[in-house]
Symmetry: C2
Subunit: 471 residues, 2 copies
């Protein structure tokens, strides 16, 4: 076992870090350490010993060389919006924030590419390319605060993924600092590449365990001119899920296909204090469906076609968003539903994903498992991708149940997911809180391959050690 232990030996090198980054970019104050002790995962907190905010790949390289030499744990961090604990400094040591590396270096309109530093906020990047008529589709709910570097680390998705794909589909090339301090580019700035092993795709989704991304070359698309949005209520949540695959089977490819259980929508309307939607008593779930493209008449026809299919699954009265403001309000409900649910109670969020048509089976199974183990869940997510966020609410559960038998319930959900051809994380990553469940979907052979890859990149196991798996 190649383990790395909690240590405060980072402090020995304080002056070195100050020399590298500048004294004003290295912190040991309690309040700063505390601000970097948690991300958006449950109620977990771990104090780092030092927070460093380097300004370049070269500075990161120098920091990592010291940490590698002295085996000091390093936790890389973007905005700290992660949901699996990937940015938690659970071993103390150095918390390395890329927040100062926040420049968009080039919007390359000639090639429909953008070159960016990792600390750029996703929405800032989206807006910058939008100004030039271009489109960067990956779009996590936290886009107003999350950063591109973290999105790459987690292979983030979001509502547009159903039509446009996830982060991995937009990353062409990465500059990465390896844990040993070398700075590499993983590929080339091209749309197709059959030149050696795909180090770029190995890096995407590796949760900051293989290297720290310091520049990213991302593919852009032409910005679609129009989009239309509708909210469709269903009296039966499983039927709502069944409608999803029927819509795709009919040949439609919506640009968003989001599912929300009744509780989710009710809670978020209270949370944002907006009752734009009147939910009838018999309604159990909603689909938020968007289409986009360059011809508004074609989109109108698509909306009609989709609505007709939904009718076949006993939907209620459909709300067609009338204008940009109403669209924004509906999207705000969907985007903030996570926060709303989480503000309601202590929770655990499972990021299940299955083949799209298995969604009704998954939802039914989650509810049955909930009954068996006595927990209430609020489900929502990217139904078009088969990606269901299952929020388990602590509610009246005792601490004993919460920390004990509940795990068995979660394991049952994950076994069901696997049986349906799915896996345990669609877009949140494994990080710290899901790693105990990883052996449900990978056996010793795959885990041995992954651990061996980790050792190649990080022989001293300093970088985000203990995330995804233990060595």
């Amino acid at each position: 076992m190649l383990t790395i232990e909690k240590t405060n030996s980072a402090l020995v090198h304080l002056e070195s870090f100050k020399n590298i980054c500048g004294a004003t970019n290295v912190f040991v104050d309690e309040d700063v350490l505390s601000a970097y002790a948690s991300d958006e995962t449950e109620d977990l907190h771990f104090l780092p010993d030092i927070v460093v905010k380097p300004g370049s790949a070269e500075e990161i390289s120098e920091i990592l060389k010291i940490c590698n030499q002295y085996k000091i744990p390093v936790t890389p961090r973007g905005a700290g919006t992660g949901l699996s604990g990937g940015a938690l400094p659970h071993l103390g040591g150095v918390l390395l924030s890329v927040e100062r590396m926040n420049k968009i270096l080039l919007v390359d309109e000639r090639n429909l590419q953008v070159i960016t530093e990792p600390g750029v906020i996703t929405e800032v990047l989206q807006d910058a390319v939008k100004e030039k008529g271009l489109f960067y589709p990956p779009d996590p709910s936290s886009r107003g605060s999350c950063m591109i570097g973290g999105n790459i680390a987690e292979n983030s998705g979001g509502p547009k993924a159903v039509k446009y794909g996830v982060v991995k589909d937009y990353v062409l090339n990465l500059q990465v600092v390896l844990p040993t301090g070398e700075i590499i580019w993983t590929g080339a700035n091209v749309l197709k590449n059959a030149t050696g092993y795909n180090l770029t795709q190995l890096m995407v989704g590796s949760e900051g365990t293989l290297g720290i991304v310091t520049k990213a070359v991302l593919k852009l698309l032409p910005l679609p001119k129009y989009d239309l949005l509708m909210l469709v209520p269903f009296s039966d949540a499983e039927k709502a899920c069944a409608a999803v695959s029927a819509i795709f089977m009919a040949g439609f490819t919506p640009s968003a296909m989001e599912f929300m259980e009744r509780d989710a929508l009710e809670w978020v309307m209270r949370f944002v204090d907006n009752s734009i939607v009147a939910i009838e008593d018999d309604i159990q779930a909603h689909l938020l469906i968007e289409v986009d493209g360059n011809d508004v008449e074609v989109l109108m026809k698509e909306m009609e076609g989709i609505a007709t299919i939904a009718t076949g699954f006993d939907c209620g009265e459909i709300l067609f968003a009338e204008d940009a403001q109403q669209k924004a309000e509906l999207w705000k409900l969907r985007r903030r539903v996570g926060e709303a649910v989480k503000s309601h109670s202590i929770y655990k969020e499972e990021d299940t994903v299955v083949p799209r048509a298995e969604l009704p089976v998954l939802l039914k199974g989650v509810k049955e498992i909930g009954k068996k183990y006595g927990f209430h869940s609020v489900c929502y997510g990217h139904a078009g991708d088969g990606n269901l966020h299952v929020n388990i609410i602590k509610g009246d559960l005792s601490d004993e149940q919460w920390n004990g038998s509940l795990k068995e319930g979660i394991r049952e959900i994950f076994f069901l997911v696997k049986e349906l051809g799915g896996t345990i994380s669609g877009e949140h990553g494994i990080g710290l809180v899901q790693k105990e469940f990883l052996p449900i979907v990978f056996d010793d052979v795959q885990l041995r391959l992954m651990r061996s890859i980790k050792k190649i990149f990080d022989p001293n196991n300093i970088l985000n050690a203990g995330k995804i798996f233990d060595l």
Copy 2:
């Protein structure tokens, strides 16, 4: 150095291989060995010692266990249509053909997925899913003979890649036999996955060096209802290339954007004996442009818009394909241009790829380098992807020039490609014939990572050893 040498020790295990695969699926006859001695790469031939045609992952596992134990080289092979020598058994040993594993296991209409064995011919798979209204876009020119397994090994592209992406964008999950004989699945049958390192994407494009794919789960799309095609002549080849990026910058995303130099089109028309196109004397290059979608009027507008842009780059009279037959004839010209050029002379094909807008600079550079080193090149390729196939014609070059100074010319082309942000293979792979050039785009650090990954998967270096790089 972990080397594996040419050996005929495979013959010692002939009876074991017959027991595993059945005697009728193991060959040592000279004519069979000879038929598997070459692929479509240049004029290269290497006899294997044994050809085995297993019928299942389990049989492949048994074969690999023996070869791993006795360090016998194994070369996996699909249809042998590769252009970088990936399927050449240059070390003798066992040639393992997956051709008998040619079943489409499930066209999953509910989930828009197909599960297939590796020996299915690409066009057969395309047609099978088309019958259900579905679409598998990756579409190499050799689609009538190449196999899905080989396409995955090389991360193949083809003309549709410009709108729909390459093979890697369609592979969701792979069953793989590792060189050590273990059988694994790399991921899950889902559209998004943030669960551990991306072994699926590591396998795609690894050219049969990390494992043998025995089942693939591929994503499908709804089949677009209509497509329109036009052939646009240009009096200046560089202006044709410049038109390409202008079309994308204007917001169009054609489903094909193919470039052919005058020689390429002339030679293929003679080759297939079809003079459908009258090439005016002053024409130097053509673009073959397709749009597809579900609304024919929208497509007509797109064609008009694209034609207007082309006019700005001094194009000649555009040929709009009138019907399915004319489309088929035009596509046949493009698809067979490689064969035509190759039938003309001994050749070397370089699979250069650059950011799209750099294509005119690349083309100009290739011609200048050709003048300097005295070689003629015929260029064609997937211009929308920036992927230019540079066919260097032996013509009157002496063997000395061909095997000597020409290499310097090729190196100059690749240095130019790198300078432009590109790389040395877009879709053909590195295989045997390009590996000496790999250090142009990757330095010792990246190559060390790749070699270390190879050693994890294949500790005895038995599987397609000496492809991509030497260990």
